[in-house]
């Protein structure tokens, strides 16, 4: 090891430059890998519904803002939609997981006690009879709603016939919501309040294991929500459970079916998996961008290492010849260059890891990113070590091929 270090001392500047480049690459690549991992994890989130069997439909009357018969066609629409070939069941809902639009309310453990509420509130899903079955939401405890429990109510409705109606008195919550309300307790049969005046109590009749929120944010997290039983959802959407291979046909047929009931309206039908895909578009674009930049960076660094190693091999041809002449094997020469590279990259990686942690801390401060677990540092280090070894292999093999006779020639 000693001769390698003292040899490096003769090329201080180049060694420092390569180490610096590797350090910078390491700092950026480690953070980029972390961001990629973070986004990929976000994109793999389970919705809790039958993703591949759902289609949703939204319809709007032409007389916007002067809506007189809001929701009047709903029953006819539902009946017609049930008759579309391939449709297994139909219900109405105000939002779907990852549909972005949502309403949230406060949830108070005691009536009128503002201090005793769930921080950030709870997302409201409202659904008509059959929604659980249509979506494929699984209950881990309790029961589905009874027919008499459905009431005319739509979350967030500020105008129209039922805008002043009180919410239902029963509710199905997710496991997360239950834990937020009553940590470690059995939520079944317990009551909480949706308003600060104590006039809107709801009793938990069922618990769903998991149902993703319409939009994932820092207030209601991933799945802090509840489902309310309602008779109609004003301004809501029809949710159709469809045979997976019939989704395209259903989306094509539905506008015709609905405009036959009322020609003066616009219909928008979408396959649910497209909605999920749309939701993650920004994340996907970011992952691609990071992958491309990481790839370019690594390629660039590798090329830099190749360039410098080749230069060194060329510069030291005579010394290599002398070493070979006095007994060094090809393997010794190969090892020499590999080990030299290991040392330089090692120095770069140590410096780069410090940089990576610093960069992560800075990003956390300015862009609400998560703290980077130390395991990512190791991944960055391994990637760069492998890259360095790969890059030096060509020049090192060329060095090992230098015949001992070179020592006797003048270069």
């Amino acid at each position: 090891m000693h001769p390698i270090v003292s040899a490096l001392k003769h090329h201080k500047t180049t060694v420092v430059l390569v180490a610096l480049e590797i350090a910078l690459t390491c700092a950026i690549v480690t953070n980029a890998l972390f961001l990629i991992g973070d986004r990929m994890a976000a994109m793999r989130m389970v919705t809790g519904v039958a993703d591949n069997e759902l289609v949703w439909v939204r319809t709007t009357g032409l007389d916007l803002g002067q809506d007189t018969k809001m929701g009047a066609d709903t029953d006819a629409d539902l009946a017609a939609l049930r008759g579309v070939p391939g449709v297994e069941s139909v219900a109405m809902a105000n939002s779907l997981p990852l549909s972005r639009n949502f309403m949230s309310v406060s949830a108070l453990r005691r009536p009128g006690d503002k201090k005793n509420e769930v921080n950030g509130g709870v997302v409201e899903y409202a659904g008509t009879p059959g929604l659980l079955r249509t979506l494929g939401v699984k209950l881990s405890a309790g029961r589905d709603f009874l027919p008499q429990e459905y009431v005319p109510y739509t979350p967030g409705l500020i105008v129209g016939p039922v805008s002043k109606a009180p919410p239902p008195t029963v509710v199905i919550v997710t496991r997360t919501t239950a834990e937020a309300l009553w940590p470690g307790e059995n939520p079944l049969g317990k009551t909480f309040w949706l308003d600060s005046d104590g006039k809107e109590p709801v009793q938990v009749v069922g618990v769903a294991d998991h149902l993703l929120n319409p939009s994932i944010n820092k207030y209601q997290g991933e799945d802090r929500n509840m489902i309310l039983p309602v008779t109609k959802v004003f301004g809501g959407m029809y949710v159709l459970r469809v045979r997976p291979d019939m989704r395209g046909a259903v989306v094509r047929d539905v506008p015709g079916v609905l405009t036959r009931i009322d020609p003066a309206r616009m219909v928008d039908a979408k396959i649910y998996t497209d909605t999920i895909s749309d939701y993650y578009h920004g994340d996907r674009a970011m992952v691609w961008l990071l992958l491309i930049v990481t790839g370019c960076l690594l390629a660039l660094t590798a090329l830099g290492v190749v360039g410098l190693s080749s230069f060194w091999v060329q510069q030291r041809t005579r010394q290599i010849g002398i070493r070979r002449a006095i007994g060094a094997t090809r393997r010794d020469i190969l090892r020499y260059f590999q080990f030299e590279n290991l040392l330089i990259v090692g120095a770069g990686v140590v410096l780069g890891s410090l940089g990576a942690v610093g960069l992560n801390l800075w990003l956390m401060k300015h862009y609400e990113l998560a703290h980077m677990p130390l395991i990512w540092l190791a991944s960055g280090a391994i990637v760069l070590w492998l890259l360095g070894q790969l890059a030096v292999l060509g020049p090192a093999l060329r060095a090992a091929a230098v015949p001992p006779v070179v020592a006797t020639r003048s270069v």
Binding site: T13, T14, D63, V293, G304, Q314
Partner: protein, 434 residues
Amino acid sequence: MFGYYLDLALRSLKRNKVLTTLMVLAIALGIGASMTMITVLHVMTADPIPGRSAQLFYPQIDPQGMEGYTKDSDPPDELTWIDAMNLLRARKGVHQAAMSAGRVTVVPPQGATHAFITDARYTTADFFPMFEAPFVDGSGWTASDDDKHARVAVIARELADKLYGTQHAVGQTLRLGKYDFRVVGVIDRWNPAPHFYDLSMGDYAKPEQVLLPFETAMELKQGIQGSINCWGDFPADGDFTKADGCAWVQFWVQLDTPAQVAAYRTFLASYSDQQKSLGRFARPPNTRLRDVMAWLDYNHVVPGSVQLQTLLALGFLLVCLVNTVAMLLVKFLRRGGELSVRRAMGASKRLVFAQLLVEAALIGLAGGAAGLLLAAFGLWVVRQQPVEYAAFAHMDGAMLAATFVLAVCATLLAALFPAWRACRIVPARLLKTQ
């Protein structure tokens, strides 16, 4: 002399094509990536209304109750209908306009089955002269149209072409839902980016196709859109012009001189005081008056992800430069022999230094040209993204020039150290070993 250096540089670059290509490629990648992101950032932070932005102001006042009040709490982003109308009628600015986003159903001449929904803006007469909206036909409506609740409309050229097949649509009838409006003006393609006058519809929202007098639209109960911030009760019948506890109206005022700005600030404070003494306001005067750029800044119009991507691109450029420094060092040191001969034959250190820099500048130019192609490709990729600012990601002349300047300057900067090192060699020693 320069011509000779250029010749030497070209010869030297040709001698080691692989290394030259590597260096050009490295610079091109760094320049391409960073220019793509800088261009995106440049268009996103651009002045949406150049020449006017320093005279347009967005007043905010605070009509909320005392609940949650602290001395530095921000007033709501919008005004209540009543305050907007009061400020409008006070006429304290050169121009002033109240506005809100809306949606209307356009029923084309072909009939109701072809109806479609489009974004609208409900505003008042001064909107057009104040924002210098370019008309291809007709003009905006007048203040008396506002007062008379006239059924007139200004439409975008795109909609005029679509409905009437011509951009000269003045006098045509525009049917919205069940009401008829007379077209009085057609606005040419006009797309201020960011959409500064109403950020609640998206920072880079597309321009509205239909503009209606505010009071007419409210009288006909056309739907309003955008942010509605209520601290009081919602109006039972959905009529937000009666809701004193809901802020949803944007208001802009044009103030040409610093004296007018100061006077308007005083006016806002005295208005708040007056409303408080009338019992409408509870809080002490809490007002703001920001110009266009300050308003965009206050609303953090540039998304964090774009800033992050720009940082990433700049980090990438930095690595590229370090890489270039290392490669140039190798390249220049390799030519110790040649440089020693030149030195021995009388070239001064300074001349050798200049020669090496010319060589580096050549690499920079080549890298800049290749980087420009990469940036053009990068921007094309950005434009394919379904984000609202995508359509604006185009390179203009300034950015084009900036690309070359950045490429050459960065390369020269990277070359300084290697060239200095190469000049320091002692000619005699190197010549002897040869």
